[in-house]
């Protein structure tokens, strides 16, 4: 193949295609390339020929001025085992030192917010649970709570307690995945197997209660779709009795492990003010000394009735984030035990026939129930016009749902504030000046879930 002529194949070079896309986007708006577009477009590389020309110039430059190192641009991801899904990081390296990181996201974008506008309110639950796939209960909880606020609906006590129970079990399951994958990325393979063993037990419990191992559709507007199945409480109790010793096992493997500490202590530090300015929430912010936990600061679903602490640390490094999450797992177990001990009796869903499906058995003999069921399934319920923003504490931070209604059976606008999306902005400031290997530890302890980032 001859270089220098723009043949039909030149469009097939990925870098040329991306460069063209970026330049087209800028030209359409009549502006210059933005910093991110310049990086994606391979900086000044406009065509493959120009890219080669530029490389030659760089090499000649290095020959002419020995000792001057040229930065190297590498793509980490979108398909890389250490980036927690399809996260692409364009890293500018000076030897092993990271000069600049540009995250490129959107590879999992499925337009869930747009799809919600074309579904009825209750159908939207099925969509939002798929965003942050490690914290499905947090997604649905934020969504249903915002709809309930628009409807000014009271949720029965038992439903609230079940929601707290499952949200805390979900936090535990999510942290187990985080710990396992982080261990794997930093070379501690056995932790991965241990964590997934326990996580699988959690998935079995979730399956028992909702019928699905992931993407549960268990919380409904007004409460929960069904009561807890027989034997569930006993099985969860057995799990909570076993789990503290298991967490001790993980800690025995990691907390004092010199390799683990070498990779984590003092790595990826930002002061709390800067994290706040970046909008970072969740364990990452708490590890820098800010005790911002919505379960304490603005209790919802009856969290004020439970005794638990908000683990914090002051160092703000990867190791502090690890310690905070492990202690959060123990606090979640504490809450789960209290829920099991004090679970109130009563209905699990509000008795509002205009919103909530009638009990299944009533359909056999009640005409009204059948009509309500048919109307709710085919048409959906209507929600008074207005707007509501409800935020809850997901395993990764503040999970918010902004719901706008125009009074119809479908949402006018649903926006999910996903903590992974906002937290991921801290990647570049956390990684700059560190080593490439530290970047893996930093992304691991930020714990982004790309399904939530891209929605």
């Amino acid at each position: 193949m001859t270089m220098g002529t723009a043949g039909p194949r030149s469009g097939n070079f990925p870098i040329a295609a991306e460069s063209r896309e970026a330049r087209e986007a800028a030209a359409r708006d009549g502006r210059a390339l933005t910093p991110t577009e310049r990086i994606i477009a391979g900086v000044e590389a406009r065509t493959p020929e120009e890219a080669i020309e530029r490389t030659l110039t760089n090499e000649m430059l290095a020959d002419a001025r020995p000792g001057v190192r040229q930065p190297m641009l590498i793509n980490l991801g979108p398909n890389h085992p250490s980036t927690h899904g399809v996260l692409r990081l364009i890293v500018e390296l000076d030897g092993e030192v990271v000069r600049e990181v540009t995250p490129v996201i959107g590879y999992l974008h499925t337009g869930i917010e747009k799809q919600c506008e074309n579904k009825t309110w209750w159908q939207g639950i099925t969509l939002v649970t798929r965003m942050d796939y490690l914290a499905p209960f947090a997604n649905i909880k934020a969504y249903t709570m915002s709809v309930e606020r628009l409807l000014q609906m009271e949720v029965p006590a038992r439903a609230q307690w079940i929601r707290v129970l499952l949200a805390e079990m979900n936090r535990l399951a999510s942290h187990l995945v985080w710990l396992g994958t982080s261990g794997l990325e930093l070379g501690a393979m056995s932790v991965f197997f241990y964590c997934y063993r326990e996580r699988d037990e959690m998935l079995d419990l979730f399956e028992m209660v909702s019928g699905e191992r992931m993407n549960h559709r268990y919380f409904q507007v007004g409460g929960c779709s069904d009561d807890l199945p027989p034997g569930f409480i006993e099985r969860v109790r057995a799990f909570t009795e076993e789990m503290p010793a298991r967490i001790d096992d993980y800690e025995a493997l990691l907390t004092g492990n010199p390799i683990w500490k070498d990779r984590m202590v003092g790595i990826g530090v930002l002061p709390a003010e800067q994290l706040l300015a970046l909008g970072v929430t969740g364990p990452t912010l708490r590890a820098a000394g800010v005790p911002y936990d919505l379960r304490k600061v603005a209790p919802y679903s009856g969290y004020q009735h439970f005794e638990f602490d908000v683990p914090t640390a002051t160092e703000g490094d990867c190791y502090a984030r690890y310690l905070v999450r492990v202690r959060e797992m123990r606090e979640s177990l504490r809450i789960i035990r209290q829920v099991l001990d004090g679970m109130p009796e009563g209905p699990v869903i509000a008795d509002d026939r205009k919103v909530v499906l009638p009990p299944r058995e009533e359909l056999a003999y009640s005409m009204e129930a059948l009509i309500h069921h048919f109307k709710l399934v085919s048409e959906g319920f209507t929600v008074p016009a207005g707007e509501a923003y409800v935020a809850i504490e997901s395993p990764r931070g503040e999970m918010g749902c902004y719901a706008v209604s125009d009074g119809g059976p479908r949402p006018y606008r649903i926006h999910m504030r996903d903590p992974s999306f906002v937290n991921l902005q801290a990647t570049a400031p956390l990684c700059k000046g560190g080593y490439l290997a530290d970047l893996i530890a930093i992304v691991a302890t930020l714990d982004p879930v790309m399904g939530g980032v891209d929605r």
């Binding site: 896309e21 986007a25 959107g106 974008h109 706040l276 909008g279 600061v297 503040e398 606008r413 902005q425």
Partner: protein, 157 residues
């Protein structure tokens, strides 16, 4: 007038258009060109809204301002929240960027630009974020079709 609206008025007289409380949530509507002053007043003032939770937008094609921006602020010590609203305008929608106050607004504003086509003056890196760079149109606008195929009884709903 609430404390929040009073603080905005003190920093930028005439900025507050409307304010109300509904469903326990305080909403203050400010003029589109005053959003930066309003945000700065609320972050640095006594109400201490240090954290910007969220920036988003909703499209109302029949309204004169069309794109309604919503800024959700929170006080991390008390959990108090406030929503600032501003209209971006129907033709050539634009508001000032708040990235100078909260750098974390960067991606949130890029998302609104990507999905709604609202421009943010003073944004350091305003390009698409979730859709491909050369995507045409702004998917979350109400006049953007969702695609897909018609099914039986589509019109029954």
């Amino acid at each position: 007038m609430s404390d929040v609206a009073a603080q905005i008025e003190a920093a930028s007289p005439g900025a507050v258009v409307l304010e109300w409380e509904d469903l326990g949530e305080l909403t203050v509507e400010v003029r589109g060109d005053r959003i930066v002053e309003a945000c700065r007043a609320l972050r640095d003032g006594p109400s201490q809204y240090l954290l910007l939770s969220d920036i988003t937008c909703a499209d109302f094609p029949d309204e004169p301002g069309r794109f309604r921006m919503a800024y959700h602020l929170v006080n991390i010590a008390t959990g108090a929240r406030a929503r600032l609203r501003a209209w971006a305008g129907a033709s050539d929608p634009a508001v000032e960027s708040v990235t100078s106050i909260w750098p974390g607004a960067n991606w949130m504003e890029r998302e609104v630009y990507d999905q709604f086509g609202v421009h943010f003056h003073g944004h350091p890196d305003l390009c698409r974020i979730l859709n491909p760079l050369d995507w045409e149109g702004h998917p979350l606008r109400r006049d953007y079709p969702i695609g897909g195929e018609e099914v039986q009884f589509t019109d029954a709903v």
